[in-house]
Structures are given as structure tokens and as C-alpha cells.
Amino acid sequence: MRRWLRDNGLSVFFGTIFLLALLGQAAAGLADYNNHQLAAGGDPVSFGRYVTSSGFAVDVAENWQSEYLQFLLMVSATVWLVQRGSTESKPPEDIGRESRKRQQIGRYAAADSPRWAKVGGWRTALYSRSLGLVMGTIFLGSWLAQSVAGRAAYNAEQLSELSDPISWLGYVTSADFWNRTLQNWQSEFLAVASMVLLTIYLRQRGSPESKPVGAPHHSTGVEG
């Protein structure tokens, strides 16, 4: 058990604080929602009612979609784009999808390589793109969830303000949808850009996200 925790500590840590933060968001969101309800002459709702509401769903989904878009772009862009000196980049001479030998594909695969890296054909082609495909799928799924739940929450607000509800197409071209989407995207892109640039000049001893403390600024794709 101890060894399992040691070997999986990173995922356990982030999984745990994710769940705690989600719980905290639900509690704070419930309090905020009920404040608005009382101010508008409505009745407060229960915790169970709130976490199954469109308001909570859209607040969760709009954050999830931007995180997975960030991962999708990072995974994809770093194949072809480089940043000299950054730990988030590979060296400029390695731009592109790299050779089969370098990527340990087919006959270059090791004995303990994943099976689909060895077999070739569509399986290897699919596996070679699986990280981006999954990130992209989760991004699109959660963005769709944001649009559906967002429309429901928006229309409830429209009706409370004596205005007409709108269609899904009307919502995904609305200021509310794009305001929610872009405010999340800008922070994700800023975060990536910050990591790409700050890791050139700054260090965090012992972290694989950093170069070794003594590594020169121009060294690229080196982990600490």
C-alpha cells in the first residue's frame, strides 16, 4: 500500500484536491445562488438540487473544456513549434513527428513497449495520436456540455427577467456563451505561455517541470 501510494502520489494528490475543490465550488455556488434567489423573491434550494442544476453544470463544464483544450493544444503544438530554452519544448532540431526509430515504433519497439506501438497499421497510427484524440474528445464533450447546460441556465435567467428563451444555436452565438468560453481560454493560454517562458530562466530544484538548477538558459527540453 505504501509503495502504491509512493508510485501514484501525484495522481492521488491532484485527484484529491480536485474533489475537494469541486465540493468547495458546490458549497460556495449554492450560497451564491441562494443569495440571488432571495434577492429575486424566489426560494432557496437544497445542496442536492443545486448540484443537479444547469447553473452548477455550466460552471463546471466551462472550466473543464478549457483545461482539455489547453492540453490538446499543448500536446499538438509542441510537435511542430519550439521554444528554445524552455522545458516545455523539444530542441529545434527535433521539430516534427520524429523518426520511427526515435519513437520506438514497429520493429524499433522494445520488448516492453505498448502492444499497439509494435503491431503497425491503423492500430499504431491511432495509438500514435491517442493522447491528442482523447484530450480533444473530452474538450469537445465538455464544451458541448457547457453549451447545453449554459443555454438552460441562461434561459431560466431570461424568463426570470421577463425575456424570451433562446434556441441552442442562438445560445452558442450569444455573448453569454462566448464570454464564458473566452474568459476561460485566455487564462489557460496565459498559463501555458507563462510555463513555456518562465522555465527558460527560473528553476525549481527536483521538479521534472524545471531544468536542473545549473542548466544553462539555452538548453531546451531538459528536465530537472
Binding site: A57, W64, A153, A156
Partner: protein, 127 residues
């Protein structure tokens, strides 16, 4: 993760309202329209939200006493109902009603409403 995202989309707030909820909203709308038709201020006011009822009464008059002075559209029938969370809109052919879900049940929040897009409806009764 994919299943969670799909669950968010399908189950939470976006994909349809139970038929029973729409029926409840329609029933309140029908009762209100019938009360308006008969001039039954008592029933009509009991079907309004407290804020809407308060807006009908003014000064020394209660909602029931002031109801007869209102010029709400008469006739009509439930043509189209849209329910989103705890809010609903009922189109009756002669009027547009806004209905909200309180702990005491669905209540009419606004009636005698005239559309004036892109601004909100202008309603004779509203909370």
C-alpha cells in the same frame, strides 16, 4: 472523463423537463386565465407570486380589491409552454404569462405581457 462530460450534458439541466412539470405549469396557467375570465380576484391573486400580488395592490387596496381594475387579456388557451429550471413561459394566444416555481408550487410572476424586443416584456402584473 468522457462519460462524465456526457453525463453533464445529458443529465444536468439541458435535456428536457419532465412532462409532469409542464403539466403543472399549464394547470396553473389555465386556472389563472379562468380566474381572470370570471373576474375571480381571490383565485387569481392566490395564483400570483407574493411580489406580483403586492404589485397589484397599492396603497390601502389588497390584490383582491384592486384586481378588478386590471385590464388583463381574456380568453385564450395554453398554446406553447417552455420550462427552464424553476422558470416557465406560457403563450396563450392572447397573453404571455411568466410562471415561477416557489416552495408553495408554481405561481404566476407576470401577466398581461407585451413583447418589445430586444427589451424584456412590459407586463401589467409583475413582481
Amino acid at each position: 472523463m468522457i462519460a462524465a462530460a456526457a453525463a453533464l450534458a445529458a443529465a444536468l439541466g439541458g435535456c428536457g423537463v419532465p412532462e409532469s412539470t409542464t403539466r403543472s405549469v399549464d394547470e396553473v396557467a389555465r386556472q389563472f386565465m379562468a380566474a381572470v375570465e370570471r373576474g375571480d380576484g381571490g383565485l387569481a391573486c392566490s395564483l400570483l407570486t407574493p411580489e406580483a400580488a403586492g404589485s397589484v395592490g397599492s396603497g390601502d387596496q389588497t390584490c383582491v380589491e384592486a384586481f378588478g381594475d386590471l385590464d388583463l387579456p381574456r380568453g385564450g388557451s395554453v398554446r406553447r409552454t417552455e420550462v427552464w429550471s424553476d422558470e416557465a413561459q406560457v403563450q396563450t394566444g392572447v397573453d404571455t404569462l411568466f410562471v415561477t416555481n416557489l416552495s408553495s408550487g408554481w405561481r404566476v410572476a407576470a401577466a398581461g405581457c407585451t413583447a418589445r424586443p430586444p427589451r424584456p416584456y412590459d407586463c401589467e402584473v409583475q413582481g
